[in-house]
């Protein structure tokens, strides 16, 4: 699928989300009974049963629900690796409360990562190699800005993936995880600036969070990975 959104800035600075769906647009989509979505799908869904060619050296996330679970597994690997490093080398001036709750978040992400790994079994992608060279783990600002970007990204990724999931049991599991990511996001945001838990940089005029496509999310996640992910076989709608 052609990515026609603006190029997001790298997280760690400020992630820019572009997939705000206005109420008017939302209603117009409803009004035509999803024909717009179907039209997109007809030119992008891989209906021929053939795998699209995986670029050499890339890790194929796979197709269907397995692909979406691997996509989630990849993001949870990234988050777990990040918070594991944060807990292992605390930033300068970290408080006892921050240590306790950031360690909680690490454990939640580890639980998510291990859950997906076990659920996927033989279909799981390998352990990913991360690249955190842009993050200064000794500095609170750098760590929290990255944490904020990861958590907001995770929320928007799960919100966007919901409609791509075919099995309602997997949808339920994604729903159980995304609200925990949103709890993290709000906490991290409040650490940076109290009261920014759901500010207008992330919540739109309908009081709604973002949903991002795997293509957009992977582009951002890739900058923190040396392993190359490929989502070309993921469901598009």
């Amino acid at each position: 699928m052609k990515n026609d959104h603006l190029q997001p800035e790298l997280p760690g600075k400020e992630a820019v989300y572009t997939k705000n769906v206005s109420r008017k647009k939302f209603l117009s989509v409803l009004g035509i009974g999803g024909l717009g979505l179907a039209a997109v799908a007809s030119c992008s869904r891989d209906d021929d049963g053939m795998d699209n060619t995986v670029p050499p050296g890339s890790i194929d996330l796979g197709k269907g629900d397995t692909g979406i679970l691997n996509y989630a597994y990849a993001l949870e690997q990234l988050e777990a690796a990040f918070y594991t490093k944060v807990a292992a080398s605390p930033y300068s001036g970290i408080t006892a409360a921050e240590t306790a709750l950031l360690t909680d978040i690490r454990d939640h992400e580890v639980a998510h990562r291990e859950f997906f790994k076990k659920a996927l079994g033989a279909a799981a992608i390998p352990a990913l190699n991360v690249n955190f060279s842009a993050i200064d783990f000794g500095k609170r600002d750098s760590v929290l800005a990255t944490a904020k970007a990861f958590e907001d990204l995770g929320v928007s990724a799960y919100n966007g993936a919901g409609a791509l999931i075919a099995d309602k049991n997997y949808l339920a599991l994604a729903g159980k995880i995304v609200s925990v990511e949103a709890r993290h996001a709000a906490y991290i945001r409040d650490l940076i600036s109290n009261g920014s838990f759901a500010d207008s940089t992330v919540i739109d005029a309908n009081g709604m969070d973002k949903a991002q496509s795997p293509a957009d999310v992977l582009m951002i996640a890739q900058s923190f990975l040396t392993s190359k992910l490929w989502g070309g076989n993921l469901p598009q709608s």
């Binding site: 989509v29 409360a97 639980a111 159980k176 409040d190 005029a205 009081g207 973002k210």
Partner: protein
């Protein structure tokens, strides 16, 4: 409770009540007759069940039904925060700022859901008359800041669980499903912040932005506990998470859904 008097009042307010009930008319008459023999605690629940059926408010099975259900919950939250912000007991500064932000989101959710329900050709449910004291149970909800925050936290955590419980019904419409998910995560952000406010105010490190076990976070109240029961799971899809992390972290890392019936039981005391 005088059930005959209650039924007389209902008949006055809604002369068609027995027509609505149809075949349930006999049941409700019988129910009235044996009411005195029922355990008192069971009466409001059983009565609520009958009235729900009478007004067609059984668990939603389609898109519009879920949206009407969501709208009812958003009405509850929107009016609660409107009254909370106007109560005069919220400290100026960050606390008022946060509750105002949340109030605005809940009003936006009401407006959004109302518009979508109309777009789908249905008539949005009317706003119920709320009693935020829950029949006197939280008598000081708008005069005691701690009680106010406790009720706010319960509403937010319940809201998160309520939306989660309906995702499966929305799968047939990707646009609505995504919108509901986008609201769902905002409710979780609210819950996280209210919990942080309570953590700071109570200086209680066991109150976290996430739900540990089925612990309501220092709110010792049977009515509130219903919003947390079932959150204590540490196994997901047959996978025991305590093999990887502590049981506290295992329960915190996944939020659990609530069924329609569970949510109605939680919010019914707040509806007059």
């Amino acid at each position: 409770m005088n059930l005959h008097q209650l039924f007389n009042s209902i008949e006055k307010a809604d002369p068609d009540i027995y027509d609505r009930l149809g075949s349930r008319r006999k049941a409700i008459r019988n129910f009235a007759g044996i009411g005195g023999k029922l355990a008192l605690a069971a009466v409001p629940l059983a009565l609520g069940g009958l009235l729900n059926k009478a007004y067609g408010q059984s668990a939603p099975k389609d898109i519009t039904g879920v949206l009407q259900y969501a709208l009812t919950l958003e009405y509850l939250e929107a009016e609660f925060y409107t009254k909370a912000v106007a109560s005069g007991i919220i400290p100026a500064g960050p606390a008022t700022g946060a509750l105002t932000t949340i109030r605005d989101h809940e009003n936006q959710h009401v407006a959004f859901l109302t518009a979508v329900i109309k777009q789908l050709g249905a008539t949005p449910v009317t706003k119920p008359t709320f009693d935020f004291t829950a029949g006197g149970h939280f008598a000081n909800v708008f005069t005691n800041y701690d009680v106010l925050l406790a009720v706010a936290q319960t509403f937010e955590d319940t809201g998160v669980r309520a939306y989660k419980g309906q995702a499966g019904v929305l799968m047939s419409n990707n646009t609505v499903l995504t919108a509901a998910l986008n609201i769902h995560s905002v409710e979780a952000r609210h819950a996280s912040h209210i919990r942080q406010m309570r953590r700071a105010r109570n200086n209680d490190a066991t109150i976290k932005p996430w739900i540990t076990g089925k612990n309501p976070g220092g709110i010792n109240d049977d009515a509130v506990q219903k919003s947390y029961n079932g959150e204590e799971l540490t196994t997901q899809a047959g996978i025991d998470l305590t093999g990887f992390v502590s049981s506290n972290a295992a329960s915190e890392s996944f939020d659990e859904p609530l069924t329609y019936d569970q949510v109605i039981a939680i919010v019914q005391p707040f509806i007059k």
